[in-house]
């Protein structure tokens, strides 16, 4: 049965996509939180340079040497970017935009010159072909397992291990690098380690999804997770879950529509982001607008309470503290005045005695909280 699973192309494609997504979103979470997620853009392009250099030296297009080479290239990219912006002559965003195209260009030209006939061309590197991952298999424990699955599993485990081992350090280095440094946690080293893993993941993933879609897996699931939760640990879990779901649904849709599988998986991460953006429990658009409405309504109730309180003991009470007065004196439209009044009655801030609106004890406390905040504090003390 296990053999059948590993022999099923569809299952292998979904599995590879899910592994790419999990590995990428694990490291991506920290990049997004640090505000340096575009480094994944830079890294995934400049590994083209690393791949061709390693190929020229060792004639290997995949495997551990390539992954190590890519890790070094990624670190080199970030190092060059930071050196360039440390000169103070170029802003950090421009530095990113200068370094990776240059490395990418050198890589492409080297491919043009030396590697015309080899199975590395910039199309493969940039676009990948997840549809063929099940063709290259290796025997492992008597099973024919696709190489992409093996390498992505290794990288996923490596990322997971790194994050588990340095969870505390990563967390602190992400949210408070100054404190991390003061406590001796070497935030820079921790961060470079993370970037090396990002690069290794990128090179293991490019066969399957290509360099640019890899960026989608690094940035989009963590961003969606960020809109769903405030907890770092949950963000990592949600990011992985979104990656798995995108891989599954993306595969089905791609097969159904006969389009690029990796592209569709990336699009599905976008759909997940859109859903989180709209329906997120606290930061979603709908939740935000509901909260605003609730606040507006609560404010109106308070305004009503203050109005009634101000005129409670005045001679003009019978004129002011009636439903009709709200329209003129508070400049509320008829329906709005009715809504607010109903709400205030509901909440027990106001009661109606004939035509007159009277504050309850709770309503009076609400008004006093605004007009005489000190008395409110005094009550508590």
């Amino acid at each position: 049965m296990i053999a059948a699973f590993f022999a099923d192309p569809g299952a292998m494609i979904v599995l590879t996509g899910a592994l790419v997504g999990i590995a990428a979103s694990l490291v991506g979470t920290f990049l997004v939180l640090r505000g340096t997620s575009l480094l994944s853009d830079a890294i995934s392009h400049s590994i083209v340079f690393g791949i061709i250099i390693v190929w020229l030296l060792t004639r290997q297009t995949a495997g551990p040497v390539q992954i190590a080479g890519a890790a070094l290239t990624g670190v080199l990219t970030v190092f060059l970017t930071e050196t360039l912006s440390a000169t103070g002559r170029v802003k950090s965003d421009a530095a990113i935009g200068l370094v990776f195209p240059a490395l990418f260009s050198i890589g492409v030209l080297l491919i043009n010159i030396y590697a015309r006939d080899v199975h590395i061309d910039e199309h493969t590197v940039l676009l990948g072909e997840i549809g063929f991952v099940w063709l290259d298999t290796t025997e492992l424990f008597g099973l024919h397992v696709p190489e992409a699955v093996i390498w992505m599993s290794v990288l996923t485990l490596a990322n997971l291990l790194y994050i588990s081992l340095f969870y505390k350090e990563l967390k602190l280095a992400t949210f408070d690098p100054a404190l991390a440094k003061a406590l001796g946690f070497a935030p820079v080293a921790v961060f470079y380690g993370l970037l090396a893993l990002t690069s290794g993941t990128a090179v293991a993933a490019f066969d399957a999804v290509g360099a640019i879609l890899f960026i989608a897996f690094v940035i989009v699931p963590p961003s969606a997770a960020y809109l769903l939760t405030d907890r770092l640990s949950l963000m990592l879990v949600y990011g992985a879950l979104i990656a798995i779901a995108s891989s599954l649904t993306g595969y089905w849709l791609a097969v159904w529509l006969n389009v690029s599988i990796a592209g569709m998986m990336a699009v599905m991460t976008g759909v997940a982001l859109l859903l989180a953006f709209l329906f997120g429990p606290r930061y979603g658009l709908i939740a935000q607008s509901r909260r605003r409405h609730a606040q507006t309504a609560a404010n109106a109730c308070r305004a009503l309470a203050v109005h009634l309180y101000n005129h409670e003991d005045s001679p003009s009470r019978s004129e002011e503290n009636v439903a009709e007065a709200l329209r003129e004196h508070l400049h509320w439209s008829e329906p709005r005045a009715r809504d607010v009044l109903l709400r205030a009655l509901d909440q027990g801030l106001v009661i109606r005695t004939g035509n007159l609106l009277e504050l309850t004890e709770k309503g009076r406390a609400t008004a006093r909280e605004i007009l005489e905040p000190w008395s409110h504090l005094g009550d508590q003390a």
């Binding site: 195209p101 990418f104 260009s105 389009v259």
Partner: protein, 379 residues
């Protein structure tokens, strides 16, 4: 092939005209992107062009350049809007917004591209060339389209020069003057998108980012004036465009886009190194000079303070004492000062060890160095 025959070759003329156009327009617009810290906006806009090109193809049914580029412009604008919407309404930062817009629009582009390939149509062959650019495939009619778009972009920059300048350097002030800052932001973004669209055929979506950043970043090193910077960026962009086009036309098999980008990157490196005033070579030389001058300056100020302390402008200080005070040999520094006529050797009987006094010009120099005239010292 002689140079003349080479240059009169029709294809090569096309490629060179296209590359020069691209360089000029992206240099000019890139200047605004770089100054506004939106360097990577070009990257997002160019990746977002891919779905637009595909949609344009699906609508037109053939590889009709104006329609493809119009599509690219529209999806670029949509991606920019998505970026703004995400960063304004959620807590996602600009980098994530750019990355999301970039990668998702590219993903949509890949899906559409494979859809076009799957549903057939012989015309699809031209679309993939937009990924990496294919300068040799550029037609004369394409050049006219690019020139028209470039003219629109440059005309927009000229028409709104003052406004663009103000919005780029001081948006808050622009707002207080009652300028429509949001509308101007949008206009600048659309104009950058126009520049990106021009380069798609030439260098492709992947490397267009560099064409927005590199010429402008290089030009920034040479001037603090926007006008000069923009002109230089256009020049640098054109030069790298021409270089890349020429080399890829002569050396068979080298892609045009990477060559153009590398030429632009080389210009950046040279500018960083030797641009007057900002160049790193100058700074490095100055630092070297300072480091060499530092010991003698320290000796000079010590001599001055000793003289002031003793109320004797001609106070003879013993060299070994100076050595001990500085914790290192002061012989070289003293010789250097002596060569400049700032100190003089003095005898101080009955001792035989060398002593040094300040000359009048040495006193003036030390006062200038310490930044206060003698009177302050006495007060």
């Amino acid at each position: 092939m002689t140079m003349l025959a080479f240059l009169s070759d029709f294809t090569i003329q096309n490629v060179m005209a296209g590359a020069a156009l691209l360089g000029i327009v992206s240099g000019v617009l890139g200047s605004f992107a770089v100054l506004r810290k939106q360097s990577l906006l070009g990257d997002t806009l160019s990746h977002a062009a891919l779905p637009g090109i595909c949609i344009g193809f699906l609508i037109a049914g053939v590889r009709d350049l104006p329609v493809l580029l119009a599509g690219a412009l529209v999806t670029g604008a949509v991606a920019a809007l998505l970026m703004v919407a995400l960063t304004r309404t959620t807590r996602l930062k600009t980098d994530a917004g750019l990355g999301i817009a970039l990668s998702l629009s590219f993903a949509v582009g890949i899906v559409l591209l494979t859809h076009i390939q799957a549903t057939g149509g012989a015309g699809h062959g031209g679309l993939e060339s937009f990924l990496f650019g294919q300068a040799a495939a550029i037609l004369r009619s394409d050049i006219y389209v690019m020139a028209a778009i470039g003219a629109v972009a440059l005309a927009l920059v000229m028409a709104f020069w003052k406004e663009f300048k103000l919005v780029s350097f001081d948006p808050d002030y622009a707002r207080t003057l009652g300028l429509p800052v949001l509308a101007l932001d949008v206009t600048i973004t659309v104009t950058i998108a126009l520049a990106v669209v021009i380069g798609l055929q030439m260098v492709g979506v992947v490397l267009m980012a560099a064409m927005v950043v590199a010429p402008a970043a290089a030009a920034r090193q040479w001037s603090n004036r926007l006008g000069t910077m923009v002109a230089l960026a256009a020049l640098f962009g054109m030069a790298s465009g021409l270089f890349g086009a020429l080399v890829s036309a002569t050396a068979r098999g080298l892609s045009t886009g990477p060559l153009i980008v590398l030429a632009a990157s080389a210009i950046v490196l040279v500018s960083l190194a030797i641009a007057p005033g900002r160049g790193m070579v100058w700074e490095w030389l100055q630092r070297l000079k300072d480091r060499r001058a530092l010991p003698s300056r320290r000796v000079l100020s010590t001599l001055y303070r000793l003289a002031a302390e003793h109320g004797n402008p001609a106070y003879p200080a013993e060299q070994t004492m100076l050595d001990a005070y500085h914790g290192t040999s002061t012989a070289r520094g003293l010789e250097r000062l002596k060569a400049r006529g700032l100190v003089a050797r003095a005898a101080h009987a009955p001792e035989f060890t060398p002593h040094w006094v300040l000359t009048p010009s040495g006193i003036t120099e030390a006062e200038a160095l310490l930044g206060h005239p003698n009177e302050d010292e006495n007060q």
